[in-house]
Subunit: 342 residues, 2 copies
């Protein structure tokens, strides 16, 4: 187990000074050609690689970006990570992944850990608990300390920073419009609670679509689900109590539960009821019938976030601050859970 080679060791071995070694390896013209070649040959032969930690300390930047997400066992978030990783790697950055488990405390803890030098900046999607609580002091603190921050998906208006989101309203509208187009008239919506911005925005899109088509909004056709755990039962109860010909679900799971429930109660999908979901994951793709769904391009969201962050990191500090919000558009993937247009 040979310890790592350092400049100092090379210097001693070749009987020159540390500075000379450093300069030679960085091709400084200050060093004579002969010495330079000798040092470079030696370094190459013994596979010298500079120590990142020392470099980080010296340069005051780590070349790693921290991403904090509520959960990782979730298709959408993994695609985002994948996107972040891709462009980060291309730009010579590493990615430190932390999970908040949707807990406010863990989110704060993670940020504090990473803020003390481990990371140059953050990419973050808020924990459910954080949004509920409405306490964003940890975000503001990071920003105040000069750490760039990019919020994605679950964002909040009151923090001034770069953001990457999808057009939830437009996406939901698109979905509901599709249901209307294929002939649905009584459309239920299965959503999450409102404090997750996503729930509110998609509800808005739902309403807008109805309005534009002169269909009356009916509060009773909306189900808001608090806990993932009991969702299946709630959906079953909800759907058995209201006569509908279309269902707009705010994620894959709800959509699938809806299909299951409907089928079990003797209804046919899509002949009797059309169902449309949000988030295009493995589930939607492989389910039978294939789920028509609104796809949010997680990979692109990750890529844009990383690009935004790195841009901030590498800009000279004198350039003035301004914050962008990038909207990654959603797409409609039509499969077999909605009737075809007439």
């Amino acid at each position: 187990m040979k310890p790592k080679l350092t400049l100092k060791k090379i210097a001693k071995e070749l009987d020159v000074s540390i500075s000379t070694v450093s300069k030679a390896l960085r091709d400084s013209p200050e060093i004579g050609e002969e010495t330079r070649e000798k040092i470079k040959a030696f370094a190459k032969h013994y596979n010298y690689k500079p120590n990142n930690i020392a470099l980080s300390l010296k340069n005051r930047k780590t070349k790693t970006i921290g991403i904090i997400i509520p959960e990782i066992v979730h298709h959408f978030f993994t695609t985002v990570i994948s996107g972040v990783e891709k462009v980060a790697n291309e730009m010579g950055y590493n990615v430190l992944v932390c999970l908040s488990d949707n807990s406010f405390d863990k989110e704060v803890l993670n940020m504090e850990m990473l803020a003390n030098g481990s990371t140059d900046g953050f990419i973050l999607s808020l924990a459910k608990e954080t949004m509920q609580k409405g306490d964003y002091h940890h975000l503001q603190e990071a920003i105040n300390q000069g750490m760039p921050l990019v919020l994605f998906d679950r964002v909040v208006d009151s923090i001034a920073c770069d953001k990457v989101i999808i057009d939830d309203v437009a996406g939901a509208k698109k979905a509901v419009q599709h249901l209307l187009d294929v002939g649905c008239r009584r459309i239920a919506m299965i959503s999450t609670v409102d404090y997750v911005s996503v729930g509110k925005l998609r509800t808005k899109g739902y309403k807008e679509a109805l309005e534009e088509n002169d269909i009356e909004f009916d509060e009773n056709l909306i189900l808001k689900i608090e806990e993932m755990e009991d969702s299946e039962k709630e959906i079953e109860e909800f759907l058995s109590n209201c006569e509908v010909d279309g269902v707009f679900a705010v994620n894959e799971h709800f959509a699938i539960s809806a299909v299951k429930t409907l089928q079990e109660s003797g209804k046919k999908v899509p002949q009797d009821v059309s169902v449309i979901g949000f988030t295009d994951g493995e589930l939607s793709k492989r389910f039978i019938p294939g789920l028509t769904t609104v796809s949010q391009h997680g990979m692109r969201i990750g890529e844009e976030s990383a690009r935004l962050l790195i841009e901030k990191l590498e800009r000279t500090p004198t350039e003035e601050d301004y914050y962008k919000t990038i909207i990654v558009e959603t797409g409609l993937v039509v499969r077999d859970s909605t009737k075809s247009k007439k």
Copy 2:
């Protein structure tokens, strides 16, 4: 944007030396009570946190562990990460995630990046290309440099290090035995290519189960799939050309494709053909019919890996080396894609 507080600044502000500040904050009895309290109060008030990079440099350890996986958009790997993250966090470690994209070159590059001080050790599942190539010099190099390495899932015998695997043979055997128990006699297997150890081992389990039940092994009942992309077509072709009453698939996707194909060709699952998969993901759970499957507990694999690695990291270097291989047992999750036992 106030810059971070450092020992030096505190020292200057309070007109003491840096050493005094450092000692006071670490509750050294060397420092008088009065001074100590003053310094601690100041530090607390201005929220001093030591710089991790400086600590890393000084202590020669980063308190972060690197995990390199072939792909992240994959339920199994995300559960593993989740497990690693969990125990890493509990023990005060951070997790650096890198993706090899199943490419040998990216795997090597990632290891080199992280080996230069970014990480104290590795948790790694080999890229497909790496296994195919059989070139493991980068692993050996890391070990030689004194960086502990834990291999999981896709491991290789020739490298001496800690390993966490599942009992692929037993798991496959269990699956096939289940098919036999519910009355299947002609059982097809849909597998991956052999150089991924998983493919080979599960095939072995398949054969063993048949053998123990005195059923003749038929080469024609095995399909080996190279590329994920074309799997669906291949499976369709394969199943339409052989009469079977049971299918053992080596992952969720293959299992689902099998069910789909069978249903389309008029067969009923599980009445006519029973199908069993490997890896218990969202897909298996939510599919209709729910997929009977062998579950590999990714979370536990991650936890065990992290524990193993951290144990190595924190043991005193004098303790002798020995390597463990932990086998995380698989479970059989019976759902609706296999007939019930008679």
